[in-house]
């Protein structure tokens, strides 16, 4: 257990503030390589057990996309000791909730229970890691469910195709070019052998982190973790070597038609560095500067004053190898998309060429401080941050010191980063347009 010292304290006030909310935790490895993080908070009788696997949409071979997301479903099918279809009933009839989600980079499974069911949570997750039942029947069922999910979330949902459209247009070689949910033909072509091999490769203790957070007794929890996870055999080391992209140097413009929308969207997309890079933090600040809150630059100008846009947004889609940066606007009435594009570019150009004002800089710092404080408001959220910081950012302690990175970014640096990544010749313009549905 590390002792944390805050060497740099410019203001006494901010020091006490930080100490008041420091997240305490303990971390260690089991012999099979499983990394364990324990966080104790007895203020409410609730416990979260979660496992993050370092496997996501990008971990696939050509022609076998969408495997990680399919697995998110498959690994609820049942285990040697949990009958098929009983998982959700076990959780809900014990007063808990559970869920899972998959990004291009990782998969996260978790349960939240009243704290007297800690052992149940550990049993469920260890069963999933040790011996999930993977058979043809389950694969067939879950492929159908994934297809329904695709219809609901992407094909049938307003603006649902946005992320796949961004990926497709910002990447040529890197697996990020393909949708996280995969191509349905790839899933259909998957054999049971493919699926089993994928499980053996990625869903192993040495490619995972377990977090237990909430109303726990540390010593007792360590014992239980060892009991349930200790016997799981270690897997082979996982290595990744995905192709590098060549930088985008000429602007492109693409159209995409979505039958589920009435109002088009104009978007500017950029390829930006992976989330571990310092520049990614700076880009986060630029997003906030541009579109967070009623006095942010784009909102104030385009929505409030000029009434050209119903909505504007700038956001960073954080990913491990490269992130995607997206600025968009939805027009009011007949405002041409080209007008929205030039209005957005005008504000981005200012960030590239002039340092933001002192007052705006202070506003950004205040917003990030507020965001940072609130990010640790639920035990469930803390568990997720601990797992993510360890596995993807390589530093668990970021949970307490991430704010320092934002604090250290200067006004000049904001300008430098904007002109490094957000130039017009680096962008892809996306016209996201409604497709008329047949009226009958």
């Amino acid at each position: 257990m590390k002792k944390k010292l805050f060497a740099v304290c410019t203001l006494l006030f901010s020091c006490t503030l930080l100490l008041a909310q420091e997240v305490q935790y303990e971390e260690y490895d089991l012999d099979n390589g499983l990394h364990v993080i324990l966080h104790k908070d007895n203020s409410a009788p609730v416990v979260t057990t979660s496992v993050m696997y370092h496997v996501g949409g990008k971990d696939r071979t050509e022609g076998r996309t969408g495997f990680a997301h399919l697995f998110e479903h498959l690994l609820f099918e049942g285990t040697k000791n949990i009958e098929k279809g009983k998982w959700f009933e076990i959780v809900s009839s014990n007063g808990g909730t559970n869920n899972a989600n998959t990004t291009q980079d990782r998969t996260y499974y978790y349960e939240v229970f009243p704290s007297n069911n800690l052992e149940l949570g550990l049993w469920l997750e260890s069963e999933r890691m040790l011996h999930p039942v993977i058979n043809q029947d389950g694969v067939d069922t879950q492929i159908e469910v994934v297809k329904e999910e695709k219809r609901l979330r992407y094909d049938n949902s307003p603006y649902g195709q946005l992320l796949p459209v961004l990926g497709e247009n910002l990447f040529e070689k890197h697996p990020y070019k393909d949708p996280n949910i995969g191509y349905m033909k790839d899933l259909e072509a998957a054999t049971l052998e493919d699926v089993k091999a994928y499980n053996e490769k990625y869903y192993v203790p040495n490619n995972a982190v377990l977090v237990v957070a909430g109303d726990i007794d540390i010593a007792k929890t360590k014992g239980l973790v060892q009991d349930y996870f200790g016997p799981i055999p270690k897997g082979a080391d996982v290595s990744r070597n995905y192709p590098k992209e060549t930088p985008i140097t000429t602007e492109r413009r693409v159209q995409f038609y979505d039958p589920n929308i009435q109002i088009p969207a104009a978007g500017l997309a950029y390829r930006t560095p992976g989330f571990k890079e310092r520049d990614a933090y700076v880009l986060d600040m630029i997003s906030t500067y541009l579109s967070d809150g009623p006095t942010s630059k784009l909102y104030k100008k385009m929505v409030d004053d000029q009434k050209q846009a119903l909505q504007v947004g700038a956001f960073n889609i954080p990913q491990e190898d490269y992130s995607m940066y997206f600025v968009f606007a939805l027009p009011v009435g007949e405002t041409p998309l080209d007008t929205l594009i030039s209005e957005m570019e005008e504000e981005i150009a200012k960030v590239r060429t002039v340092p933001i004002s002192e007052r705006d800089y202070q506003k950004l710092q205040n917003k990030f401080e507020n965001q940072y404080v609130n990010s640790n408001s639920s035990v469930e959220g803390i568990a997720n941050s601990l797992a993510r910081n360890y596995m993807l950012y390589g530093d668990t302690e970021l949970i307490n010191k991430e704010i320092e990175i934002y604090r250290s970014v200067t006004r000049d640096e904001i300008m430098e980063v904007a002109s490094k990544y957000l130039k017009p010749n680096q962008r892809v313009i996306i016209d996201y347009l409604p497709e008329e549905k047949p009226s009958n």
Partner: protein, 690 residues
């Protein structure tokens, strides 16, 4: 050496404890965790404002919530006034202009928002005093300006327009109107007409009448101390003038005598919205409140509930089907079971929902269902305690709903005691399969025939028809619309007759047309010329520059778009020829292959739908015979797109009726051409087609 020792130790530990773990059976829960239900501290101001404070110093944040618990308000012919009041609140105050107000809140990294009878703010606790001041100022001294009023009114009207085609929005308002009647606060709805009745003065009056402290609660949760909250509240909220809102009584809504279907026809619906509803008199303080919640949970509370398992998992009719039961201390609420389904299974879904409601009324639920549902509720209750707001909400409910002080302390105990009989009794009292209103909103031409055959408990359910504004109407008359023996050819002949007669039309050897449109602030000019000898020219110009030009002269032709000239292929020429004739309908008859596909609505007009080719469908008014709309499916850079042309404002030129308004829509574009001139048999020379 040390490493070896650690390894050895951990193996020992592992084996020692492993003996105690039998992973083949599910671990048993430990003893129930102790629940610590704190009580908030509270006080009142003389103007009636009640304040509750939950101190929680875990994080340096605070939230401030103002709730005004007034009885429901009937807005009548000014429905929408409360919504407008809500949008205008928090736009600064009489003391701070809007921009400065927003700038300050944003600068502090804080959030603040207002409703017509509520307000909410959150920030770091170090800014708490200023946030209290800002909230109080904006709440007590709102700045209602004509400019902001006009802006918010426009936004509201745009939203209402968008709603007119929204099947679920229409379904929702008809359900409420039918359950309560339109003269009840819960049954009335906002329309463009009622919004247009609202003046800025009405917003001010609404605010004056209802934004008053008599029924107001201020709840402060977070890293604050009680004395400070008290001091600040007294400082900033004492000037809020004491007043009691006007109160009215409303007629009590009643259920129907027999279960019946209320049908709303929406020709654009691709899914039917089905709601089975009945009136419920349930308050939180009623002794059977918890059993009623459990009954609803078992019937339709989620993915493990009966409606979901039947309609989704078993039948595959839908993505989800749920039920909900409301409670309300002022007025009756509703029980509703809902589903959205594809048109083809509308009738079957009605039957399945009614069956499930009937089953939970007539048969006891299983012990297992009850046990699992209790556990789910207990878990939810315990886990909610993680949020400090929960404590505040509980205290607020006790106050507002007049609950016993120990309502939440005894919650788990009361939950545990609920029996299968209690659940059935609650289901019998609060759910109805024999006096239910089944509101179906969908495409009548596809679902009505089977819906009228729906039988439940041996009886065919009556079907009553309602408009989109919940008025009783006639059954949509789909059959009379397509009289026996009517063919596509007759429809075309009627059209030709209506616009001038075959003979007159055949005497036309050329015509020219000019029209204007505005697109994104720019003026577009359209020039169109046609002859009966396969000659066609269409030129669209913007500010004197040609955007696109198409020319056909017999068997050759070309197009120029953005300065690029391209000759037409043979295939394209054949296609253009079909359309290039002055009156293509004359050719349709000769070409044959037409199909009458029944009737459909074009806007509010009933029309015959004639399929000309796979890619072209034309709609003709059933009454006047005139052409109302053409729908073309075109291929554009590999994308199949649908292009619609609406024809309106027919006027006579040389004995022939021509549409003077042409609205073309494709994708997001909607271009409205207004014809400025049409010339028949003049103004066209062979040079036009070079």
């Amino acid at each position: 050496m040390k490493k070896l020792y650690t390894l050895l130790f951990s193996i020992l530990v592992a084996t020692a404890t492993q003996a105690q773990v039998d992973r083949s059976t599910m671990p048993k829960p430990g003893p129930a965790p102790e629940i610590n239900l704190e009580e908030p501290q509270s006080f009142s101001l003389n103007n009636g404002l009640k304040v509750m404070v939950v101190e929680n110093h875990k994080l340096p944040t605070v939230s401030i919530q103002l709730t005004i618990d007034n009885p429901p308000i009937l807005e009548g012919d000014k429905a929408g006034v409360s919504s407008l009041t809500g949008s205008l609140m928090g736009q600064g105050s009489k003391n701070i202009p809007k921009d400065e107000f927003n700038e300050e809140v944003d600068f502090l990294g804080a959030r603040i928002s207002f409703g017509a009878q509520s307000a909410f703010a959150s920030s770091l606790s170090k800014y708490f005093p200023r946030m209290m001041e800002l909230m109080a100022d904006a709440a007590i001294n709102p700045n209602f300006t004509q400019e902001e009023f006009d802006k918010e009114k426009d936004i509201l009207i745009t939203a209402l327009k968008a709603e007119e085609k929204d099947v679920s929005a229409i379904s929702g308002r008809v359900q409420r109107a039918l359950a309560y009647g339109k003269d009840h606060p819960y049954g009335e709805f906002t329309t463009i007409e009622t919004v247009n009745n609202i003046k800025l003065e009405d917003v001010k009056t609404f605010y004056r009448d209802y934004f008053v402290p008599a029924n107001a609660y201020l709840v402060v949760v977070g890293d604050v101390n009680f004395d400070e909250v008290k001091e600040l509240t007294e400082k900033y909220f004492t000037s809020w003038t004491k007043a009691v809102p006007p109160s009215f009584t409303y007629s009590k809504p009643k259920d129907v005598y027999n279960t019946q279907i209320s049908f709303v026809d929406m020709p654009n619906a691709v899914q039917s919205e089905i709601t089975v509803q009945n009136i419920v008199n349930l308050k939180m303080k009623d002794p059977d409140y918890l059993p009623a919640l459990l009954a609803n949970q078992i019937l339709g509370g989620g993915g493990e509930a009966r409606l979901f398992l039947n309609l989704r998992e078993d039948k595959g009719y839908t993505y989800g089907s749920y039920s909900a039961i409301g409670d309300d201390k002022y007025e009756p609420s509703r029980f509703r079971a809902t589903v959205s389904v594809r048109n083809a299974v509308t009738d079957s879904s009605v039957v399945e929902i009614l069956k499930e409601i009937d089953r939970i009324i007539t048969e006891p639920v299983s012990e297992k269902e009850l046990k699992n549902t209790k556990a789910k509720y207990a878990g939810r209750f315990v886990m909610a305690l993680e949020q400090p707001q929960t404590i505040a909400n509980y205290a607020l409910n006790i106050e507002k709903e007049g609950l016993p002080k120990d309502f939440y302390k005894t919650y788990l105990e009361r939950l545990e005691k609920i029996t299968v009989e209690d659940v059935q009794k609650a289901a019998q009292k609060y759910f109805s399969s024999s006096n239910a209103r089944v509101v179906v909103t969908g495409k009548g031409s596809e679902v009505l025939e089977n819906l009228e055959k729906v039988e439940f408990k041996g009886k065919t359910l009556p079907v009553l028809f309602y408009s989109k504004t919940a008025e009783r109407t006639e059954k949509p008359d789909y059959n009379a619309a397509s009289p026996e023996g009517l063919t596509a050819e007759t429809v075309i002949e009627n059209y030709l007759k209506a616009i001038g007669g075959k003979e007159t039309l055949e005497s036309v050897y050329s015509y020219s047309m000019t029209a204007e449109a505005e697109m994104q602030g720019m003026k577009l000019n359209l020039e169109l010329k046609k002859t009966s000898k396969d000659q066609f020219m269409q030129d669209i110009q913007m500010m004197g520059n040609s955007l696109s030009k198409q020319v056909l002269d017999g068997d050759t032709g070309y197009m120029v778009a953005q300065g690029q000239r391209k000759d037409f292929s043979e295939e394209e020429i054949t296609k253009i020829k079909e359309e290039s004739a002055p009156f293509p309908e004359l050719n349709y008859l000769a070409a044959g292959g037409l199909t009458l596909e029944g009737t459909d609505m074009v806007g509010d007009t009933k029309a015959y739908k004639v399929k000309v080719t796979d890619n072209k469908t034309v709609f003709y008014d059933t009454e006047t015979g005139l052409k109302l709309q053409e729908v073309n499916v075109i291929d554009m850079q590999g994308q199949t797109m649908q292009q619609t042309m609406m024809l309106e404002d027919y006027r006579e030129v040389s004995g022939i009726l021509f549409p003077y308004k042409l609205i073309q829509s494709m994708g997001p574009q909607n271009i409205e051409f207004i014809v400025s001139e049409i010339k028949v048999n003049e103004g066209v020379t062979p040079a036009d087609f070079e």
